[in-house]
């Protein structure tokens, strides 16, 4: 594949995935479930996500340099590998098409009200195609350059609006009630969908032994970013109004001003967000390419890019209205991520490990006798 990611590059990449969720309507989705209890809920689901990460780390321990497709092959042969591959391809493609259309709609309503949507879509799709033809290394280098700027932009959003923060808005701390915060709020774990990429990360690493460290560090940084953003939104906007605004982070960034000298910084932030989303969508296509090549034995992993981009354009031509995007994000993606990333993935890892141990024991017994 020719891709060898360093520890830093990998961490930046994972954090960028989460950032892309923040710039879309995901904070609203979280807050709509748990209200003011989102801060407690985040800590709660964060601990659960940590358990999943430790399962993934332990699951991959016996399979160095392998991804979930290799483990599926060991577990259930080529059939299971193909099924798992197709499921993940469909998941990544759904994320791809939902994010692309959601952000295109946002961009169109903010800046390009009179431009045809197809122009904005083509800007992204051509960008995705070119970056994938050049290679994943180019995307990673762009992420390396972009991520510190994005961190600064979130930090500026936080500092610039700090005067308007009201800590009282975070109360009652347990939200609507204990049931919504701890039981219904469990679905908020879908925010950590970047864990899905951990299943494919190991073969891409320069040093596969760093896998465990990368997972933990990237999780803690992403969690920090998510926590700060959610707290900022909650302390600035009442729970009721976060539900009626399309993008709370955009509303937050619109509010950033340093006296009368520096206002409307959102215009600058949007530019970085476009680049961040382009990197993320390109990465998604790259991962679909990897799965496609592995499942269907394609030698050149860049080739499926043409197919995926054409498919993406064809699907995007369907008019995605707000209702459809919300349905995809709030219902389809939410439950698809929970069932594929947090249920299917760990089951395959656990079963793969059981099979590996049974096989190892049999081989050991053979050698003894």
């Amino acid at each position: 594949m020719g891709v060898q990611l360093s520890k830093k590059e990998c961490i930046f990449f994972i954090c960028l995935i989460l950032f892309n969720k923040l710039i879309l309507s995901f904070p609203s989705l979280l807050i709509s479930v748990t209200g003011t209890g989102t801060t407690i809920n985040l800590i709660y689901i964060g601990i659960i996500a940590l358990v999943f990460i430790s399962i993934i780390n332990k699951g991959f321990k016996n399979f160095p340099n392998s991804d979930i497709l290799d483990i599926s092959k060991i577990l259930g042969g080529k059939t299971l590998k193909t099924i798992i591959g197709i499921i993940y391809m469909l998941l990544f493609f759904t994320i791809l098409i939902t994010f692309l259309n959601d952000f295109t709609n946002l961009l169109k309503s903010i800046y390009y009200q009179n431009s045809p949507t197809i122009f904005i879509l083509l800007f992204f799709i051509i960008g995705i195609l070119i970056s994938n033809l050049i290679g994943f290394n180019s995307i990673i280098k762009m992420i390396n350059l972009l991520f510190p700027i994005i961190l600064i932009s979130i930090f500026i959003s936080f500092i610039g609006t700090i005067d308007n923060f009201t800590l009282d808005k975070l109360t009652p701390i347990f939200g609507y009630n204990y049931k919504t915060t701890f039981l219904d709020g469990l679905v908020n774990i879908f925010t950590f969908s970047f864990i899905g990429f951990y299943y494919f990360l190991q073969p891409l690493l320069k040093k596969p032994e760093d896998f465990k460290k990368i997972n933990y560090i990237s999780f803690f940084i992403s969690f920090g970013l998510l926590f700060i953003t959610i707290c900022s939104i909650l302390t600035l906007l009442p729970v009721a109004s976060t539900g009626i605004t399309i993008n709370p982070l955009y509303i937050l960034s619109r509010d950033v001003s340093f006296s009368v000298f520096l206002q409307r910084l959102d215009a600058l932030f949007i530019l970085f967000w476009i680049l961040a989303l382009l990197c993320y969508l390109s990465s998604l296509v790259f991962f679909i390419n990897i799965i496609f090549s592995k499942v269907f034995n394609v030698l050149d992993i860049k080739m499926p890019s043409y197919l995926i981009c054409m498919l993406l354009l064809a699907c995007s031509l369907y008019p995605f209205n707000i209702g459809l995007i919300e349905f995809l994000e709030n219902i389809v993606l939410k439950y698809a991520i929970i069932s594929i990333v947090f249920i299917l993935g760990p089951i395959i890892l656990i079963l793969g490990n059981i099979k590996f141990r049974t096989k190892s024991r049999k081989e050991l017994n053979k050698n003894v006798f």
Binding site: I110, K169, S241
Partner: protein
């Protein structure tokens, strides 16, 4: 070798062609010449009609460069329309340039229309990306068109910053609160807060910010005077400084001017006693004496104590008056006491049982002022 050179030349030509496109500029870009920058928009109701009067105040480029690069000419266009956007469309239809709201500093509603409910206008404007979040909401005692006219005729150099200057006076007068559009929108949609706007009184010759317009949901229910604004800023810990006029402890029927600012933040404690809210406010201010007359001797500790006592009573009176006005008369929690009480409950379901919206009007307030008179500026004794 020959082909390699040819390839390089070809790349140079390709690069030059790409650069040529950059030189063409943006042929369809909109610039200052194509736009009219609205400085303020005003919305008025029309008697016996569902239509509104939309007034747009536009700053035009000054012909002379002068000593400032700010615009000094302005025009007000007024149109009868069904909604804000349709009004702007009508104006765009007969004006030579497109109206742009990016520099809009104030949105003015007449008191009449504010009392009928303005949520549809506020939500529509929030949906417009051109409107700045720090654009101010002003409620005019007469029509918004009259307010815009009075501001235009004030004799001041008119510019896009005219309204910003009016609002920025809050820092040294304490007579105006910073009622930005974003805050207004979020408070209007909040269950625990009341939306507040600047209340401007329009008289024959001038316009003055004279208080706070108070909203319950999206309906304006009343307004306060300037003392109400000072009280509100004290309770919200947003007062920078203000000059107040208190009864003199030394001479009957005379007053003393004091400049007040915060010593430390106001402490608020909200409790439920016998199903009624009991709210304690402890206010800590410092004051500097401005008035100096022949009877005053500010070097005496006794006199300073008398002055502090009068100041405490004055502050307690104006703050209590403001709180009882907003709670008893308007039933509006303008200080978000509800949010402060919600801290004492673990879940929203538990807090809902308190029925804050219903019981707030039965609140009891205990306001205690702890003011310190520190200095009398240059003169201590006559």
């Amino acid at each position: 070798m020959y082909f390699k050179k040819l390839k390089i030349y070809f790349l140079y030509i390709l690069f030059a062609i790409i650069l040529l496109f950059l030189l063409t500029g943006c042929y369809d870009a909109t610039s200052v010449e194509n736009l009219y920058y609205a400085v303020a928009i005003g919305i008025d109701s029309i008697d016996n009609s569902d239509n509104i009067n939309l007034s747009v105040q536009i700053a035009q480029n000054s012909s002379s460069s002068g000593d400032t690069n700010q615009s000094t000419e302005q025009k007000i266009y007024k149109v009868e329309c069904v909604s804000i956007d349709s009004g702007i469309n009508i104006l765009n239809n007969y004006l030579s340039k497109e109206i742009d709201l990016l520099n809009c500093s104030a949105i003015i509603f007449s008191e009449d229309i504010a009392k009928k409910g303005i949520i549809s206008f506020v939500n529509t404007l929030q949906n417009n990306v051109e409107i700045r979040p720090n654009c101010n909401i002003i409620i005019s005692s007469k029509t918004s068109y009259e307010l815009l006219e009075k501001i235009s005729n004030s004799g001041e150099n008119f510019s896009a910053r005219a309204f910003e200057y009016i609002i920025s006076s809050a820092k040294f007068t304490g007579y105006t609160l910073d009622a930005d559009f974003n805050q207004f929108f979020t408070n209007m949609n909040s269950a625990n807060e009341s939306a507040l706007a600047i209340y401007a009184t329009v008289d024959e010759n001038s316009v003055q910010n004279t208080g706070i317009a108070i909203f319950r949901n999206d309906y304006m229910v009343g307004h306060t005077d300037t003392e109400g604004v000072i009280s509100h800023l004290i309770l919200e810990n947003k007062l920078k400084s203000s000059t107040i006029n208190i009864p003199s402890p030394f001479k009957e029927d005379e007053t003393i001017d004091l400049s007040i600012s915060f010593l430390k933040n106001t402490e608020i404690d909200v409790n439920i006693v016998n199903n009624n809210p009991y709210i304690e406010c402890d206010i800590y201010l410092t004051a500097n004496i401005i008035t100096s007359d022949e009877a005053s001797d500010y070097s005496s500790m006794e006199n300073i104590a008398k002055l502090e006592n009068n100041l405490n009573r004055y502050i307690e009176n104006i703050v209590s008056e403001y709180l009882y006005l907003t709670s008893k008369q308007y039933s509006c929690d303008t200080i978000s006491f509800g949010e402060k009480l919600s801290k004492k409950y673990k879940t929203l379901d538990e807090f809902k049982k308190v029925n804050w919206d219903t019981i707030y009007k039965d609140s009891f307030f205990n306001v205690n002022a702890h003011c310190k008179v520190l200095s009398s500026s240059l003169i201590t004794k006559q």
